[in-house]
Symmetry: C2
Subunit: 350 residues, 2 copies
């Protein structure tokens, strides 16, 4: 008889604008959707326990989750590094420690992004061969095939080898988790031509050309949305600005459109007629569908979500963690990174 | 009797995907709209002359334009620096030279962006006190008050003082050309807090804090679209990526929306009903309305437009050049830049 594999995920139940309720509701949806999931709900037990039943965490599900007590929570006013000293008992640190101690395969947090990154890097630790973990995001586009953009904020100043590593980790993630064969990889620059870009991006591109990767060269800002690349690597400063700009622009456009359709009786009728088609359109571009951003390169799965995540986004983030576990993304990164990066190094002559 | 002021603009009539026809049609529209405009149409006389009448450049307008012959044109396959050697007789260089020689107040080009920048910087030259000219773009948003983003591609690697200068030039442009009083100025970073960002952006922000400017501190990617800042300064690498991403995302969304409304008879009827409201909405976000991007900091007006500009965009770009002339943007930059930048320098103790 096969013993079924169960993946243990530690959920920071106290992190996020709508915590803990949205976290518990998302947990319930994830448990219902995935039989191979066991959730550790990390947070203030006295606050969490009375909310369980209302969130639907009852009945058969009771055997597939547990509360793990954590006395404090990192707030938006805290520094990211507070988890190393003042808030060692915070929910995000306790959750990360479960991964370090082998009691969970991954951690999911919608709380303070910086604190979640510090917890992942310092408490869980980085994979051998990885210089710097990086935050990846999955951008939906019209074609229906999403593009992985990384780093979107974990590393502000980057050397060429860091950007090359991000590209390699992104390629593995796109292949394993998104199921894209031979992902088309690019380095973000200001023009397609090989000579365009900064000294850093040119050097990163040069080392990627030497590797056994489907590397297409320089990508531009427009390539985030036109299905020419599956993976685009850049430093965390640029990636963060691009992600925040895109979110805000898309929100503004959809918000403006909604207002247009509420203008008068004709537009309202128009909206009613186009509604099913508009819904299908919006679904294509649905960020919540892709859940949180994986922090790639740590010794365990770490998914970091938006502070304003609702139950559905929490569910998606847990699913992203689960898929990363199932596909052994970390083993693949560890196995491939060293091999590929060594291809980029200049050959020693005897 | 007052002699009316006439502004002389040199138009690179051969640059752009739809040159020369769209250029000539845009020129005609601009001449009709602005009585204080005289246009020098720079390009291959043998090609241009037969097209004039068809573009409407006839009748009364004949006294307000002239053809200036240029034997060659910079193509997309050329290097930007070709205008310094192989293509000294190219339309963009001949147009820029007219500004240098005092025969035109400004130059407008929709051709090779790099060549137009090199021509402006090297042939026209930079204003005293300006370390590096920068390309500014005007981003429309829902609120109807546009945001100036700069640099969007003229300078890839920047030092803190360059970014501070971009911010100052952007503030003057927003005030003079867009009519925004005490423009709200920010430096692009990865978080609002003062400590966030790279060493370069933190230092740029620090020197802007010392100046007599309405400086609000760090801006984030989302602030390009939410009317919290009127001017956002960054290096040309980030700005270029942000601009190209936004253009592509907005185009994709509008394109997708158009497809939605063509899906079936119900959606088509819906679109018909909502049409006037949708048109007003699209108008708010209309890039063509703002014309080309001004290259700020050169000794003369230089407006650089999209290669794919149609006649309307050409007209807008010429209008942008005209407004910059009328408001003496360069005099203001020259006057203010030295004064403001000196405020940022550490005081000498006696």
């Amino acid at each position: 008889m096969d013993v079924p594999v169960v993946y243990q995920i530690a959920l920071d139940a106290m992190g996020g604008d709508f915590a803990p309720v949205a976290l518990l509701e998302g947990a319930r949806a994830a448990l219902e959707a995935h039989e191979d999931l066991f959730l550790h709900l990390v947070g203030d037990e006295a606050r969490l326990r009375p909310l369980l039943a209302a969130a639907g965490l009852k009945g058969d599900l009771v055997s597939r989750f547990a509360i793990v007590h954590a006395a404090s929570v990192v707030t938006m006013d805290d520094k990211a590094t507070c988890i190393l000293k003042e808030k060692k008992d915070s929910s995000i640190r306790v959750a990360a420690k479960m991964v370090r101690d082998g009691r969970a395969h991954g951690v999911v947090s919608m709380g303070h992004t910086g604190a979640a990154m510090v917890a992942s890097k310092m408490v869980i630790g980085t994979l051998p061969g990885v210089d710097r973990p990086c935050l990846a995001t999955v951008l939906p586009n019209m074609s229906g095939v999403p593009t992985v953009l990384l780093d979107v904020g974990a590393n502000i100043d980057c050397r060429p080898e860091h950007i090359a590593q991000f590209a390699v980790m992104g390629s593995i993630y796109a292949e394993e988790v998104l199921g894209i064969k031979r992902p088309r990889v690019g380095v973000l620059s200001v023009g397609e031509e090989e000579g365009k870009g900064s000294a850093t991006t040119r050097e990163a591109a040069q080392s990627l050309r030497d590797m056994d990767l489907n590397f297409l060269g320089n990508a531009e800002g427009r390539d985030l949305w036109n299905d020419k690349f599956d993976v685009i690597a850049c430093d965390g400063f640029v990636g963060n600005a691009l992600l925040k700009s895109a979110e805000s622009l898309a929100e503004g456009l959809f918000g403006g459109l909604k207002a247009v359709f509420l203008e008068n009786v004709f537009t309202k009728l128009g909206a009613l007629l186009a509604r099913p088609a508009l819904k299908r359109f919006a679904k294509k571009l649905d960020y919540e569908e892709y859940g949180g951003a994986p922090l790639l390169g740590v010794k365990g799965i770490s998914i970091i979500g938006h502070g304003r995540s609702n139950a559905r986004a929490v569910n998606s983030a847990i699913r992203a963690a689960l898929v990363a576990c199932e596909h052994q993304v970390n083993d693949r990164i560890q196995e491939s990174l060293g091999r590929l990066m060594s291809q980029a190094e200049p050959q020693q002559t005897p």
